[in-house]
């Protein structure tokens, strides 16, 4: 009997998680402004759809960038034939320059250290293959992007150990939490090879301050472990404080003693809104890692057709500046619309200044402070409010009641509809749209019994959601 591998048959791909029930609900009943106005609105997908007009205009004005227009078809042969894993020089140069601009030109990137990968998904896996052996571990602050479980662990055999961050200090990373996590690993006899930071953070939508970054740097230096900084959202910072890249800290000699330990993951999927083009980047200060990752990039090179387009686009300084300004402006507006809309019904979110989502505090709507209650609330939100938001448990959050809701993957009107639905839901649940703190406490007891009754109705009504096995997997996007 020809069996499949353990990897093929285990759950390491992460798609059997109940997290995907929301996706399934969306797939079976997707919102449409005219054809399905009562459908599920997708707020679980961190996509940046705000600036396509700007990009489309550029593409139409620059036909050569598409290589194969009548103006540019004689470039076709060289581009389509070029399979060198170093990548087109103009691609690497333009990506390095773009990364510098996103960081306010405060750091310099060497194009020779730019390595391609199949999206940030491929970048993470490749770095894991380069930096750790099966059974070894990376530390990762919670809450974190669910895809890391697959990207870093599935085929590599590496473990992820949480560094717990809490709402009491707005989920900021502390030295204490890092040391605790490291110590636990030691006790369990697990060798820690590195720390992964996601800055700006998904799902928090916040940036790390200089002290935290320096602390992290001194921690990894002391332990002699790697630091992987996923800066995929670096170009989505729309408010103060500004973004500080690990590249800046890497240039502080007093803090950064060994640049061989520093590696950055980047991608154009979020900043430019191009997840379909699969442009992932590893930038490492370590020559051996650059060398090895480059060889491994054979498994996920960027199509030269796309490299050529990106090279042309990103070397147009005027366009890049216009785009980054416009994108920040639109993200700020969208974020403000959503943030204020939620506050109107007393829903607080973490004060974020980056990313494509809000990290929302729905703890007061929980029946009780448990993850079961979070799941129940979530199913309610999907089933009745018809919004696919992402529960904190799927991000390994240590506290129940937090949810991530995306706001940049739809138009203004859809977002307003989503907000109206949220308002209605909260008012129904709490009996008011502006609860005070004290009232909140009382109401939460009342609301618990009310919501409990509602949930009973909800759970006792026969559901007609398709069984998970009849749906194609909702993790069809490479990255959520």
């Amino acid at each position: 009997m020809a069996f499949l591998s353990k990897i093929a048959t285990n759950n390491g791909h992460g798609e059997n998680s109940s997290y995907f029930d929301g996706w399934k609900a969306y797939d079976s009943d997707p919102f449409h402004p005219t054809k399905n106005i009562h459908g599920v609105i997708q707020m679980g997908l961190a996509e940046n759809q705000l600036c396509f007009g700007v990009i489309q205009e550029w593409v139409e004005n620059n036909p050569k960038a598409s290589i194969c227009t009548p103006q540019g078809s004689n470039g076709f042969k060289d581009i389509s034939n070029y399979q060198d894993y170093h990548g087109l020089p103009e691609f690497r140069n333009s990506v390095a320059r773009f990364m510098e601009k996103v960081r306010g030109n405060k750091v310099k990137f060497n194009p020779d250290r730019i390595v391609m990968s199949g999206g940030a998904t491929g970048a993470h896996e490749t770095l894991a293959f380069c930096l750790a052996d099966p059974g070894e571990a990376f530390l990762v602050p919670t809450p974190y992007y669910p895809g890391y479980d697959r990207d870093l662990r599935w085929r590599t055999g590496i473990q992820l150990l949480p560094v717990v961050c809490e709402s009491s200090n707005e989920f900021m990373l502390t030295r204490e939490a890092l040391e605790d996590a490291y110590e636990e690993a030691q006790k369990a006899n697990i060798k820690v090879k590195g720390l992964i930071l996601n800055n700006p953070s998904n799902p928090l939508g916040t940036v790390m301050d200089r002290d935290t970054l320096r602390d992290a740097m001194s921690f990894i230096t002391e332990k002699n472990i790697h630091l992987i900084c996923d800066e995929i959202y670096s170009g989505t910072v729309f408010n103060e404080p500004g973004f500080i890249s690990i590249a800046e800290i890497a240039e502080e000699g007093a803090v950064c003693k060994n640049r061989d330990l520093i590696h950055i993951v980047y991608s154009l999927s979020k900043d430019l809104g191009f997840p379909g083009f699969r442009v992932g980047i590893i930038y490492s200060y370590n020559d051996a890692v650059v060398n090895c990752a480059r060889k491994m990039s054979s498994f996920g090179l960027v199509s030269t057709q796309t490299q050529h387009l990106i090279a042309s686009m990103l070397s147009d300084d005027v366009f890049v500046e216009k785009f980054l300004d416009e994108s920040a402006k639109r993200l700020a507006e969208r974020h403000s619309l959503f943030f204020r809309g939620l506050a109107k019904v007393g829903i607080e979110s973490l004060k974020g200044n980056a990313g494509l989502y809000c990290w929302i505090d729905l703890r007061r709507l929980l029946k009780e402070p448990t993850f079961e209650a979070e799941m129940e609330l979530w199913h309610l939100i999907i089933g009745e409010v018809k919004l696919n938001v992402s529960p904190g448990a799927s991000f390994h959050c240590s506290e129940p009641g937090w949810f991530r809701a995306c706001f940049a993957n739809m138009d203004d009107e859809t977002l307003r509809i989503a907000l109206r639905r949220i308002h209605k839901f909260v008012i129904q649940k709490t009996g008011s749209d502006q609860p005070t703190r004290r009232e909140q406490y009382k109401r939460s007891k009342l609301e618990i019994s009310l919501s409990f009754r509602r949930l009973d109705e909800f759970t006792m009504t026969p559901r007609t959601l398709a069984s998970p096995h009849s749906m194609t997997s909702p993790l069809v996007r490479a990255r959520t």
């Binding site: 036909p63 999206g119 099966p134 379909g276 054979s298 057709q305 194609t472």
Partner: protein, 470 residues
């Protein structure tokens, strides 16, 4: 504490192989008809550069396909956002139909059984991850494509055990070679999970015979293991016999919906047939739903750019174009292969009789000083540094017999190929002169004036411009 993984430090990436070293030498001194006529001619790269004009003219007539437009309307946003690992449906449909066309429409392929990957490199690695655990083994007939050492083994930690094929029967796979390989794996305590063949073969340039295909199917059925057929060159069969895919054999034996139907998987890519390796378009085809499901999830690590999927879906859906392209491409390959064969024959060198691919499997055994791989390396170095041709030594393809070389013919202009043939002729003549004069080969190749004058005569410049043993 060691800082990097074992994978960084081991050699399983395969890049220290002479196959790649030859490329590096080429890169240091690349031939150019005008700017560097004495440079090294690249004959170690299996690329199809013969039919770009056909692609370019199609593109010129179909600007929407590359301009992110559909019926004149921009679909940039839709494409840029499309990261669905199931791929663009229109592209998968077109690809499945293209693959059927190449197989003479003798098989039916379903697009839902296709998984898109970033090139065949990624497809092969992904299949290994799906079908085998670290430490398991796959059997491969030798000689085989050097890249398999990396693609199949490096990050997967799977082992390759060779199925030894030799020149006595034209390097065909035999039943006894299969059994012997299986026993060898057992002796090494390795669990065999499958057989991987390339059909048409790289580096041999031949299509597998019906007999070989039946042998393989029977073998994997008996052992309960998988068969991967890498059919990356399936569109480049330019002489009889016609290409027969393993899928066709199964259909003819009425094996649909049997267990073995699920044990056979095909790897494909557009890098060779269309000559677009830069676009990274690969695919796995499997009838096993579990394999398709697992491979699809894994394809997240190397998806095909949606920009490229869209372009190619338009191109491959143009049936008139694909028919013309495939047939014209084959004609040009055949012509080119004949040029190479003639040129080599002129120099007294024979090749394995081949009908496919972008290369010939060339017999230089008679030029070896001894029947050893060391002698093969000696000749190879001469050919690179003195003759100025990068060809691939058989040892880099794990050939069991020294003296065979893979020589590519489709990645250069006709003029360049002619130049290469002239150089070979001169080289062989000088080798013969050496033999006639009775000089010991080693003596000849010690730095002496005869060598200098050969170098001068062939390349017309100072001896010191050439470096040896870099």
């Amino acid at each position: 504490m060691k800082l990097l993984s074992k994978k960084v430090k081991c050699n399983a990436h395969g890049q220290d192989s002479s196959y790649f070293l030859g490329w590096q030498e080429y890169e240091k001194n690349p031939y150019n008809e005008v700017r560097n006529p004495r440079g090294i001619i690249q004959m170690g790269l299996a690329e199809n550069q013969l039919s770009f004009d056909l692609l370019e003219s199609w593109l010129a007539q179909n600007p929407d396909a590359v301009g992110f437009k559909k019926n004149g309307e921009s679909i940039l946003k839709e494409l840029a956002l499309h990261q669905d690992y199931r791929g663009l449906p229109a592209f998968k449909n077109a690809l499945a139909e293209f693959m059927e066309e190449i197989r003479g429409n003798k098989v039916r392929l379903k697009s839902e059984n296709l998984v898109l990957t970033a090139g065949a490199t990624s497809a092969n690695e992904t299949l290994m991850f799906c079908l085998a655990d670290p430490g398991n083994a796959f059997l491969l007939p030798t000689p085989y494509y050097p890249g398999f050492d990396r693609d199949l083994r490096w990050r997967t930690e799977i082992q390759i055990v060779p199925i030894q094929c030799n020149s006595s029967n034209g390097f065909r796979i035999t039943g006894s070679a299969l059994e012997e390989a299986y026993k060898e794996a057992e002796r090494r305590n390795l669990k065999v999970k499958g057989v991987l063949v390339t059909n048409p073969s790289n580096p041999l340039g031949i299509t597998l015979s019906l007999h070989e295909l039946n042998l393989l199917v029977n073998f994997i059925e008996a052992k309960g293991i998988h068969l991967i057929s890498d059919e990356i060159y399936s569109g480049l069969v330019f002489n009889s016999p016609d290409f027969v895919s393993v899928m066709e054999v199964l259909m003819n034996k009425n094996y649909m919906n049997t267990q073995i139907w699920n044990q056979i998987h095909i790897v494909y890519s557009l890098s060779k047939d269309l000559g677009i390796p830069g676009f990274r378009v690969g695919a796995i085809y499997s009838n096993d739903k579990e394999v398709v499901s697992a491979a699809t999830k894994m394809s997240s690590f190397g998806l095909v750019s949606s920009q490229t999927q869209y372009l190619l879906s338009a191109m491959l859906s143009d049936k008139k174009f694909t028919k013309t392209y495939v047939s014209e491409n084959r004609k040009r390959l055949k012509h080119r292969q004949e040029m190479l064969i003639r040129g080599l024959r002129n120099a007294g060198i024979r090749c394995l009789e081949s009908n496919a691919g972008l290369f010939c499997w060339v017999d230089m055994r008679h030029l070896l000083s001894s029947n050893t791989f060391e002698a093969e390396m000696e000749i190879w170095k001469k050919i690179i540094y003195e003759v100025g041709l990068n060809i691939s030594p058989g040892s880099s393809c794990h050939c069991a017999e020294p003296g065979w070389f893979r020589v590519c013919f489709a990645n250069m202009s006709e003029e360049t190929l002619n130049c290469a043939m002239q150089r070979i002729k001169v080289f062989v003549n000088s080798e013969c002169k050496t033999n006639v004069n009775g000089s010991n080969r080693n003596q000849f190749w010690n730095k002496n004036s005869r060598r200098k004058s050969l170098a001068n005569w062939v390349f017309g410049q100072s001896f010191h411009d050439y470096k040896y043993e870099r």
